[in-house]
């Protein structure tokens, strides 16, 4: 090491090092590496750039690189597809930037009681939204939570097949292809006019070896799946489990899946007050009824409220650690670990701010904004919207097929005018032709949607 101490490292001050080495009884730190064979030792310096030891240089360089980005608040963005740039309330930002939450980790409830209480409150508030008594601690994201829920169904039923709608999030299909090899994943065709699950096809596929059936509500493509009661009945009649994937921010308007027969609910709380973070703001959950078999098959961390031994207060503890990959090790069929807890705390704060009236107003306002977007874009010659579905609550498929332009070309023209158009679906869902998924948040007013419509009219002229 060089002579000067490093500001991040207290014991890099030369005097103290000498004192500590003397106490240990060795001449140099080198002696403490005796167990690392010489053949493995690196005897040259790492090939790294000279250090930026001062904050000015660091902020200039790294901050300067970030400055080149254009964020969703600078452009007018209609991107969604599972991640939305809604408003993050000031109180949420204050709480998630608290050093106590940012820098804590594996400490137990005796030191980190507040962290565990916030996570229990996340579980509780999501439980109210989805209508389930058990909710996991925050998991990686809604995609992985959905896949894990479907594999839970295979273990709970001892059956191999899981049925996934054609219109489900393409990332879910991709993730299942990598993750769910233990199961037989089969695609349930959609009625390509309405977008709804093709019930006749589902009836043919259903059988005594089906473990679980996935329904997204609302669907990835934004429409409300209207066949939920029929799918639920058919699934349960076959002895299989209904797994429902939700956008929890719509559950002030849409029924709680627990109230219409869902056996397992998975979802992503990112739309509940978490920054989009280029996809790093996702935070999943897995919910189900309070049943010991389900608890055993839930691969996630589960935080339980527990009383103090004297019964005078409530604390928290890990439940069923024995069912997680920490204890199962080589017998695990799924895994958990460091995931996205801080965003679970954000969602708990957000739902506490919103309250029952706010969550309803949020959903209603999203549905109204989506309808207005449909109305304005639908009036533009060549655009077909909604491409499918009747009720929409946040997102909608806009078909540009009649305009003679590709989505890529339209989006490039929008970008030049400061607008991020909807996600291009042509690669993932080629049967939709030149279609894009447009999304709104509560930050979109009439003026913003009018600007999109006017700009599209200009671009397509």
């Amino acid at each position: 090491m060089t002579g000067r101490a490093h500001p991040y490292i207290p014991n890099s001050a030369p005097g103290v090092r000498a004192e500590m080495l003397a106490a240990i009884g060795v001449d140099s730190v080198e002696a403490l590496y005796a167990s690392v064979p010489e053949a493995l030792r690196l005897r040259t310096a790492l090939d790294l750039p000279p250090p930026m030891t001062d904050e000015v240089a660091l902020r200039r360089h790294v901050g300067g690189l970030l400055e080149r980005n254009t964020h969703t608040g600078e452009a007018l963005s209609f991107l969604g597809g599972g991640c939305w740039a809604g408003n993050v309330p000031a109180v949420v930002d204050e709480i998630i930037n608290r050093a106590e939450f940012v820098t804590s980790y594996g400490g137990g409830p005796y030191a980190d009681l507040g962290k565990y209480q916030a996570i229990f409150e996340f579980q509780s508030l999501i439980g109210e939204l989805v209508g389930m008594d058990v909710v996991s601690a925050p998991t990686y994201d809604g995609i992985t939570a959905t896949s894990s829920a479907l594999l839970m169904a295979t273990r709970l039923t001892g059956r191999p097949r899981i049925l996934v709608p054609e219109t489900a999030n393409p990332a879910t299909h991709q993730h299942l292809a990598t993750f769910a090899r233990r199961a037989r994943v089969e695609i349930v065709p959609a009625d390509r006019t309405t977008g709804m699950v093709d019930l006749d096809a589902l009836a043919v596929m259903m059988g005594p070896d089906v473990a679980g059936v996935l329904v997204e509500n609302p669907s990835y493509l934004g429409f409300v799946e209207e066949h939920v009661p029929e799918i639920c009945d058919a699934t349960h009649a076959a002895g299989a489990l209904l797994v429902v994937s939700v956008d929890p921010s719509t559950l002030g308007v849409l029924e709680a899946p627990g109230a219409y027969g869902a056996d397992i609910v998975a979802g992503d709380a990112q739309p509940l007050g978490v920054h989009p973070l280029f996809g790093g703001g996702q935070v999943g959950f897995i919910a189900h009824r309070d049943d010991a078999d389900y608890m055993r098959e839930n691969p996630s961390i589960l935080i339980s409220a527990v009383p103090t031994r004297d019964g005078s207060a409530t604390g928290f503890a890990w439940s069923m650690l024995s069912s997680t990959s920490y204890d199962l090790r080589g017998d695990a069929q799924d895994y958990t670990g460091t995931s996205q807890w801080l965003w679970g705390i954000a969602a708990a704060v957000y739902l506490s701010l919103l309250g029952p009236a706010g969550i309803q107003e949020l959903g209603e306002g999203l549905a109204a904004r989506t309808a207005y977007l449909v109305r304005r874009l639908g009036a533009i010659p060549g655009i077909r919207v909604p491409r499918m579905g009747r009720a929409h609550i946040r997102e909608v498929v806009v078909d540009f097929g009649g305009t003679g332009r590709s989505v890529a070309r339209v989006n490039a023209a929008l970008r030049e005018r400061g607008i991020f158009g909807g996600r291009d679906l042509s690669a993932d869902l080629p049967w939709l032709g030149e279609s894009a998924l447009y999304a709104v948040t509560e930050t979109h007013g009439q003026a913003e949607i009018d600007r999109l419509a006017d700009t599209l009219s200009e671009v397509l002229r």
Binding site: R17, S35, L125, T308
Partner: protein
């Protein structure tokens, strides 16, 4: 107050008193009609379409009963969660030495940078042209990690260590499948002292797992590995140093034997902190491996994530990395999705880039000399702590003859337990009363009886270590002189001793407020 010198500070002299708010659950708070947030109002023309939009939703799918969320004014929500934050510690407040977790200082300049809206408010589907700055940071961070590890390419998709280790298992699977050997290479070898995610990640990827038990010196010997290797061997996945802080000196031979048998070797570098600039994974022959950017590379742990796992591979294995990856395409940076040999997707989107940005800033701030100082200071601190704790009666260091430890030690209080009946679980609760973050005991299985795993990283000072050792010595003394005080601890933390068994009892566990209310009501009726 009179200034006093730091030396001679007694553990009890701190008179620590934790915050205990007895704060109700948020669901127990509130007053009907209160609210914490007003959403942007609907403009008239937008509002005009609302009823029709909602009427289109089938009645059976319309919410019938409003969710029972709390009704709280904004200052009350803020107050509640600030109190919860006060009842949490975090590595900025304490000299956290939580074993296996590499708790270190997360520089605040990195926080300042990472809290820019130019990062927070980026959508993952934005055109790459609009996120060139972020993609360049990711690419540059990858170049630095290539120098640190010797690997040829990295993916940052994994959101934590377990997800990264699982990704390593997927890459091993995909590599054998690409060579037409996937069907017969179905076993992964790991060690019992490696992090459980190595076994679990391999098992989740479909492998049968063989765990090698440690020998007398704390690590499995070469013969144990030889016995486990077979034509079914797909690879080796291990941590080194293991969670004991013991470096397996035969690791080069392990790698050679597994390669000879046709397997790949994956290095879980969750414990990589003491080896920065000292030894590189690729130089030891490993084909792939992962670092935890939220541990070793200075990014904070965020209350159990978001973290980021950097999975590195030999250059020829790069095509197998998860999709998408950040690539420099000559005139700019792209998210490359055209990767036919990729293992596919391990999570939504492309990764936790806020963590990558912080790690990049940390790496730049340290440089080559700084990284080596990090490693050497962590090892120095650990061995200084060994020196101090060797003097605590009742505390032993299993596998003592295995040479100096690197980053951590899995200690044993078994002697003290035999003598006094006070267990490691009692002691860990008691540490709370002195303002310490409770130490980590051990992952499953608990091969070391009454374990205590301490990992003092480069973040802690000599005074911190002196104080930690004095507190542990004081508690050991209490175990002999006032055992009831230790067994009934904590007394000065945010909550009293808990009935933790309730969390595993189906009749009493409660993962949500609604379940808690139901079970409390049931208990009241019964009782």
């Amino acid at each position: 107050m009179t200034p006093t010198g730091a030396p001679g500070r007694e553990p009890a002299g701190r008179h620590y008193q934790g915050v205990r708010w007895n704060e109700p659950l948020v669901t127990e708070l509130g007053t009907p009609g209160q609210r914490g947030l007003i959403l942007p109002p609907l403009d008239p023309e937008v509002a005009a379409g609302q009823d029709a939009a909602l009427a289109a939703i089938p009645a059976a799918l319309r919410r019938a009963v409003a969710p029972r969320l709390p009704e709280l004014a904004q200052p009350l929500v803020l107050r509640h969660f600030l109190r919860l934050s006060q009842m949490s510690q975090g590595a900025h407040l304490v000299a956290d030495t939580l074993g296996t977790c590499t708790m270190k200082y997360s520089p605040l300049v990195g926080e300042l940078i990472a809290r820019s809206p130019k990062l927070l408010d980026l959508h993952p589907d934005q055109d790459p042209e609009s996120v060139q700055g972020l993609l360049e940071i990711s690419w540059r961070c990858e170049q630095l990690l290539k120098a640190v590890s010797g690997f040829g390419a990295f993916s940052f998709q994994g959101g934590g260590g377990s997800q990264g280790i699982y990704t390593s298992a997927l890459i091993i699977r995909a590599w054998h499948e690409a060579r037409g050997e996937g069907h017969r290479r179905d076993e992964i070898i790991t060690t019992t002292f490696s992090h459980p995610a190595n076994a679990a990640g391999a098992a989740t990827a479909g492998f049968r797992v063989i765990s090698l038990m440690p020998g007398e010196r704390g690590f499995p010997d070469v013969d144990a590995l030889r016995a486990a290797i077979s034509p079914r061997t797909a690879g080796l996945m291990l941590t080194n140093p293991e969670d004991t802080g013991i470096f397996n000196p035969h690791v080069g031979e392990f790698v050679r034997l597994v390669h000879e048998a046709g397997g790949l070797c994956a290095y879980d570098q969750a414990n990589g902190n003491p080896l920065l600039g000292i030894a590189r994974a690729a130089d030891a022959g490993f084909d792939l491996g992962q670092f935890n950017l939220h541990k070793t590379f200075g990014a904070p742990h965020n209350s159990v994530g978001p973290g980021a796992s950097a999975v590195g591979v030999r250059a020829d294995l790069a095509p197998f990395l998860p999709s998408p990856v950040v690539r420099f395409a000559g005139d700019g940076y792209i998210l490359d999705r055209d990767r036919p040999q990729s293992v596919g997707r391990v999570r939504a989107w492309a990764g936790n880039f806020q963590v990558v940005v912080r790690a990049y800033a940390w790496l730049l701030a340290l440089g080559a000399d700084g990284l080596r100082t990090v490693a050497e200071t962590a090892v120095l601190n650990n061995n200084y702590l060994v020196h101090l704790l060797a003097q605590v009666p009742g505390l032993t260091m299993p596998y003592e003859g295995s040479g100096p430890r690197l980053d951590q030690v899995r200690w044993s209080w078994a002697q003290l337990t035999a003598e006094t009946g006070v267990t490691t679980d009692d002691i860990v609760r008691r540490t709370t009363d002195y303002g310490l973050q409770p130490y980590y005991t051990s992952h499953h299985p608990m091969l070391v009886p009454e374990p205590m795993t301490l990992e003092p990283t480069e973040m802690v000072s000599k005074d911190d270590l002196d104080e930690l050792a004095a507190i542990l010595a004081a508690i050991a003394d209490e175990a002999r002189t006032a055992p009831a005080e230790v067994r009934s601890a904590p007394h000065r933390g945010p909550v009293a001793i808990l009935d933790e068994e309730a969390a595993d009892d189906p009749a009493r566990w409660a993962m949500t407020w609604r379940a808690l209310v139901r079970k409390r009501a049931g208990a009241a009726v019964r009782g």
